[in-house]
């Protein structure tokens, strides 16, 4: 056990509370207060007999399906994400950084756009179906995509694989290589090293990634609604339908409560499992970049996964930019093969406002707003995440109690929370509902659990004796931090920043919170085009989606390039 916890004097306890002040206050004010208010309002009217329809059976059905699809999705995501994490952490190959970047992009694309991408590929008139019909002379498309469980699972894997790659890959790349080497010296072959040394040390990051993926799938909303074809419903979808379409707030509150309780249980279980001290690690020496595949078996592994990732991520993503520059005006007289033509018109149209609408979104303004919100989110979530993660890195009973609560925002219903904001921040002094600051605050709420999860293992892995050695050699605290802590947590910090950035860019706030139309973001601009008929609107939506992808990609590259001078190779 940690010597610090054994001392346990009043002074030590008090100092342990301090790092929690800012993040705790933030969470209490912007999460528990609005959520508590709306749940209270809903449950209160439910208790007064607001729910007349029988609710138990439908709720149980929805709940079981929610867990079932989330479990399946998580297992599939791990099956694809773990080998990919090894690939990126251990091997070098041509196009590695681009492929890594591409796997991160889905995470922030709005569901509408992802659904369009998949449809261009797998839909009734998608490339694959058209190709198969030509090749095998079929009369009807062989693959049905929309409305199947398979479509939902595929989209979940598409969205969340990057979580596994980032979290596990990050841990993998700063495992102390001397442990492997020691095992090999003692005669273990590479398979034994993997099962007995590497995998046990990755238990915590794998569990962390699984839980985050599970929570995202558990609260899945847009994917279920858009790709499920109305045949499937998760708790989150049921909450949305009850709250906004049927205006049945009591039942919505009841469902939200069920969802929140589940999240709390998962979070506590998870917290029990992972808040132990992980294996110490040192900054990994020069070979962190990995090496090329050498044996034929390694080549097969690298080649196979690269091809698979390409099919899985690149094809659906490429279909969007392609769609934004092609004109699909079929020759109307003959409804046969569609006439393709290249065009830049949709991009030029973005700069025009022919109907002079007041909600016209100039593309650069949307990019600017999105980037501004994302930057504020990154700064805010790192500032709040660092103290919390530092405290969690040396857990006492206090941390064990507090930890699960910081995961809750991931499992809370966005619709319910949005309604909570509406009823709590609608009057002075906190009339935030009508203010644009609510947007980065809400984004930070979602980003914070990630930032904490990513920083905590890195901070925990710093051996105390390194700090003690630095101090005893006369280094002042900041210098200790700069020379000992920072080189170890730098990579994790960048990883956390990328996550916060992408979460903010992709967050489609319009559905859950009041958004000021004067400050539209890219996802909101995309949704606006898609809600109106016409080829030009559709093309412009695809063009905006392509811009969103480009901005995301550029942002990730930029953050990953940020290095302190003299800090060495990334």
């Amino acid at each position: 056990m940690d010597p610090a916890t054994l001392q346990g004097s009043r002074a030590v306890e008090w100092r342990r509370v301090l790092p929690w002040l800012a993040p705790g206050l933030f969470l209490a004010l912007f999460f528990f207060y609005p959520l508590g208010s709306i749940l209270w309002l809903g449950l209160h009217s439910a208790l007064r007999g607001g729910i007349v329809a029988p609710v138990f059976l439908p709720t149980a059905q929805v709940f079981l399906f929610t867990v079932y699809q989330a479990l399946l999705s998580t297992l599939l995501t791990l099956a694809i994400g773990l080998p990919s994490a090894f690939l990126f952490a251990r091997y070098t190959f041509r196009g590695k950084s681009s492929l890594r970047l591409l796997t991160a992009i889905p995470f922030m694309l709005p569901t509408v756009v992802v659904a369009a991408g998949f449809n261009a590929l797998l839909g009734g008139r998608g490339w694959i179906n058209l190709g198969a019909m030509q090749l095998f002379h079929l009369a009807a498309p062989p693959i049905t995509f929309v409305g199947t469980l398979g479509a939902i699972l595929l989209a979940h894997v598409f969205y969340n694989t990057t979580i596994v790659i980032r979290l596990v890959g990050n841990a993998l790349s700063h495992l102390d290589p001397r442990l492997d080497q020691a095992a090999r010296t003692l005669g273990a072959d590479s398979r034994r090293v993997f099962w007995r040394v590497t995998l046990p040390m990755l238990r915590v990051p794998i569990l962390a990634a699984s839980l985050l993926v599970f929570l995202f799938d558990f609260t899945s909303f847009g994917v279920i609604l858009l790709l499920g074809g109305g045949r499937f419903s998760t708790l989150e979808v049921a909450i949305y339908l009850q709250a906004t379409q049927l205006l049945n707030l009591p039942l919505a509150a009841l469902l939200s409560f069920v969802q929140l309780c589940c999240t709390l249980v998962f979070s506590i279980l998870y917290s029990r499992l992972v808040t132990r001290r992980p294996v110490s690690s040192a900054p990994r020496p020069a070979d962190t970049k990995g090496r090329p595949a050498r044996t034929w078996r390694e080549r097969l592994f690298v080649g196979g996964i690269v091809v698979f990732l390409f099919l899985m991520f690149v094809l659906p993503l490429v279909s969007l930019p392609l769609r934004s520059i092609t004109r699909l005006e079929a020759d109307r007289a003959q409804h046969g093969p569609v006439q393709y033509g290249l065009t830049g018109a949709y991009y030029l149209d973005l700069f025009q406002n022919p109907t002079e609408t007041i909600f016209y979104v100039p593309p650069f303004a949307a990019i600017g707003n999105s980037l501004l919100y994302a930057t504020v989110t990154v700064v805010l979530s790192l500032l709040l995440g660092f103290p919390a993660a530092s405290a969690l890195a040396r857990p006492t009973r206090l941390e064990r109690v507090l930890d699960p609560f910081f995961l809750l925002p991931l499992g809370a219903s966005a619709v319910t929370l949005g309604l909570g904001f509406i009823i709590t921040f609608n009057r002075p002094p906190l009339r935030l509902v009508t203010s644009p600051v609510l947007v980065p605050l809400a984004h930070t709420l979602v980003a914070l659990p990630f930032v904490i999860r990513i920083l905590q293992p890195a901070l925990a892995s710093i051996p105390d004796r390194l700090r003690q050695a630095a101090s005893s050699l006369g280094a002042p605290p900041f210098r200790v931090w700069l020379t000992v802590d920072w080189p170890i947590v730098r990579r994790a910090t960048l990883s956390a920043a990328v996550f916060a950035f992408t979460i903010s860019l992709g967050e489609f706030g319009a559905s859950s919170l009041v958004v000021r139309p004067e400050y539209p973001t890219l996802p909101i601009a995309i949704a606006r085009f898609l809600s109106q008929p016409g080829a030009s609107n559709y093309g412009q939506a695809m063009a905006m989606a392509t811009i969103l992808m480009a901005v995301c990609g550029a942002g990730i590259v930029l953050i990953e390039r940020l290095r302190l001078p003299g800090a060495g190779e990334f």
């Binding site: 609604l225 109305g230 379409q245 609408t357 007041i358 909600f359 609608n426 009508t434």
Partner: protein, 345 residues
């Protein structure tokens, strides 16, 4: 020291949120589909020395729910976007202030559904089935003319519809079938539709852009539940005498359902006179003539002229289905539940 640093951005955000409340601001709460042109809005702002702020609050149902939840401390002065399927719900919640606008005289009685004028009609549109002209001409298939046609084998698998639980377009079409076949007969019709290869998707965007063959997605279905005002939007290039829309609307008996949208002054507003002026403005010729190309809806003011593309390509059904808001409010939840049982499961 570090701790103080953490609080600075929070404090800054907090201060930023408190500052910047202009002198007279009129807030209009509305749904995400609201649109208007800059010159028209500026005309009202300049004439009344007021700044208009539009609070887009989700789809029609979500926006109304937010207005009801905040009725003790309203976020806005005016609410636009309640339609006839939500009207009873909105009126029962008691969030609107009656207002007998002088402009009501220019609006035909068929649109005025609230006798107390708490909610005033602004625009209407017809949810109709759109068809892809090219598909039917190349397949030598007559365009379906009635709801009954749709369950014939030659139209198997050709129609895409929106789930009424998640889409107001889908709900509206469901209501049309209930008007036509009656509350006891519509389920049998929907079961036949489902057996005839009906495709159900979540919402209008997916149905129109992904599944419908007549629009940009070039999907598999040549029939889609959409709006009578969609055809003008698909005309490519400048309008000439020979222009034609690649899609049309099926205008049979009860194949369309009339949707009317309303505006109302929210109770508790501190700018009552201005709010009423804005309601007048929305009913006036200037705003009414701006709406069609902004929101693809028709003006209720009989003096408002339609744009050329609407006159040429959009048709108004002669016999749209109608149902009283009270009947809709009383049955909507159970109808949706019955529909879900019959069609989706």
């Amino acid at each position: 020291m570090k701790r103080i640093v953490f609080l600075i951005p929070l404090a800054a955000l907090f201060l930023a949120s408190c500052a910047g409340q202009g002198p007279t601001t009129l807030t209009v709460m509305t749904h995400d589909s609201f649109a208007a042109s800059q010159p028209v809005i500026s005309a009202f702002e300049n004439a009344n020395h007021v700044k208009l702020v539009f609070l887009k609050s989700g789809d029609a149902g979500a926006a109304l729910n937010k207005a009801i939840l905040t009725k003790n401390a309203p976020l806005a002065d005016v609410f636009y976007g309640v339609d006839n399927t939500f009207l009873s719900r909105a009126l029962d919640a008691g969030i609107f202030e009656p207002y007998n606008s002088p402009l009501l005289a220019q609006i035909p009685a068929e649109f005025k559904l609230d006798a107390e004028n708490r909610e005033l009609p602004v625009d209407y549109g017809d949810v109709c089935i759109n068809y892809d002209k090219a598909y039917f001409s190349t397949h030598n298939l007559p365009v379906p003319a009635t709801l009954e046609d749709l369950i014939k084998p030659e139209y198997k698998g050709l129609l895409v519809d929106e789930n009424p639980a998640s889409s107001s377009t889908g709900l509206t079409f469901l209501l049309a079938t209930i008007v036509h076949f009656g509350p006891n007969g519509f389920l049998a019709y929907w079961k036949s539709l489902a057996a005839n290869g009906l495709v159900v998707v979540d919402g209008w965007e997916t149905a129109y852009y992904t599944n419908f063959s007549g629009s940009s997605g070039h999907g598999p279905q040549p029939l889609v539940v959409s709006y009578a005002s969609s055809p003008p939007a698909e005309v490519v290039g400048p309008i000439t005498a020979t222009s034609e829309s690649p899609i049309g609307s099926v205008l049979g008996p009860d194949t369309c359902f009339r949707q009317i949208e309303f505006v109302g002054v929210l109770k508790g507003t501190t700018h009552l006179a201005l709010a009423q002026k804005f309601v007048d403005f929305m009913l006036s010729q200037q705003f009414q003539e701006d709406m069609p190309l902004q929101m693809y809806v028709y003006p209720v003011n009989s003096q408002a002229k339609l744009p050329e593309s609407f006159v040429m390509f959009a048709q108004i059904p002669a016999q749209p289905a109608r149902m009283s808001p009270d009947e809709i409010a009383a049955n909507r939840d159970s109808w949706i539940a019955e529909w879900t049982q019959a069609v989706v499961h």
